[in-house]
Point group: C2
Chain length 253, copies 2
Amino acid sequence: MPAKPARKKAEPTLALDGNGPIYKQIERAVRGEILSGRWPPGHRIPPEHTLLQWFSTTRATVSKALTKMTEAGLLERRRKQGTIVAQSTESHAVIGFLDIRKEIEAKGREYSYRVLRSAKIVAGPKTAAWPEVPAGTPILHLQAVHSGFGKPEVLEERFINLEAAPDAVHADFEAETPNIWLLARLPCTRLRHSIKAEIATAEQAQQLQIPANGPLLVSRRRTWADALPVTCVKLVYPGERNEFVGEFNPLES
Amino acid sequence: MPAKPARKKAEPTLALDGNGPIYKQIERAVRGEILSGRWPPGHRIPPEHTLLQWFSTTRATVSKALTKMTEAGLLERRRKQGTIVAQSTESHAVIGFLDIRKEIEAKGREYSYRVLRSAKIVAGPKTAAWPEVPAGTPILHLQAVHSGFGKPEVLEERFINLEAAPDAVHADFEAETPNIWLLARLPCTRLRHSIKAEIATAEQAQQLQIPANGPLLVSRRRTWADALPVTCVKLVYPGERNEFVGEFNPLES
DNA sequence: CCTCTCTTTATGTGTAGACAATAACCGATA
DNA sequence: TATCGGTTATTGTCTACACATAAAGAGAGG
């Protein structure tokens, strides 16, 4: 005798849209709840067991969708506790740091790289920006300009740890930029970078062919191969002409 | 009659290290080959079928490891064609863009947020930095200062689309910064930001209490909720005192 | 009241196998 | 030779199930 089903939960039981793989449909459905605010930050979403019934699929598929969203920072999952909507939707952003050659060529300009100075030194006061190398370490000190159509675009000042890359003294960096040369030889297992703004010195302004005291965007990067410091590079961009742009789309991937 | 086995491949058949989940061990093993240069960019790695034999596991597990690395940009996979090591080992980096309040409080300073100006305007020449809103859209225009111990740290100029967030006119942004306020109400589905260097105007220098013509780091962000532009914000940091730092460890996750 | 243990819930990881989709490859044919 | 078509290798997605692991909660014993 079928008595009144006595609404068990009255939850709307999300629906799939039939587009593409099931795990992506689940992702869209859940994301829709979050983005619409129906599932606010901190909300505990139904457990996998419930979702697999709503969507008539298996745990592996539901889990794949939720795990992906967790990696994207949209959800937080804990055993026993369940899955909750993450608190901070915005946290960090990705910025493109392409190969400078590609950057310049992408603007349709002919690329050239010219080494202004190349000297073998030892770590000391000159490498103050690179505190990780012990004083006395042999270092290759490079100063160079990246240009497009002969017009200087970026200044580069680089230190290369010759204990990590002894061959660097013989390399032809006008044929292959140090960045590329190093990457091809030594794995980069750690990278640290920073960005700041500075005012152009007279020398920099002249080298970049910009007015004196103009703004500069300075990017400094240090890389390691395992525990061994490999290189420290300072890239100087004219502030007026350059902008680092990043785009982040929480909806995808 | 067992003839000489005639070395089939002589491939070293990578080994697992026994630490943690199998798929992570596979990840480390493969990453090791890539970072060491033994598998250079463009190299075709053994198909899943081979790897699952090397590692005595199943396709699902191998696939999980490789798919994860693909999402991280280390590999490229195509049906039938196989899996190859991605060309650009270095491509982009993550930069922390935390809540300014947290940034300042992390330095141990007492945070305060003061609204300098708040005006209801319509989109037009004043919102040139925000081309996505059609002219005539009602906009809330805010100017504010983030301070630590009373000392100005960051200038903020913000536009809020009142069609997206009509309540913003009544919000008390000194109690809750616009960033937090908006995030709690509207989902951010797309975010676009850029960084550039500028020279402080007299007014900015005075507001930030820095010398005139000093360097500034300018970050501009625009966000969308689905297709609807929500806010456009320009954050101005004194270049001397601030640095955006990011750390990236290709070995993890 | 506190602490310990047991149970329960939910996610984390793994196995085994299936079919689908894609694109390279190879052979047959015009 | 060039093109068409079938075969095959490889990844993409899914089902179904199993056991491991973390943590909350309940109950027993002090």
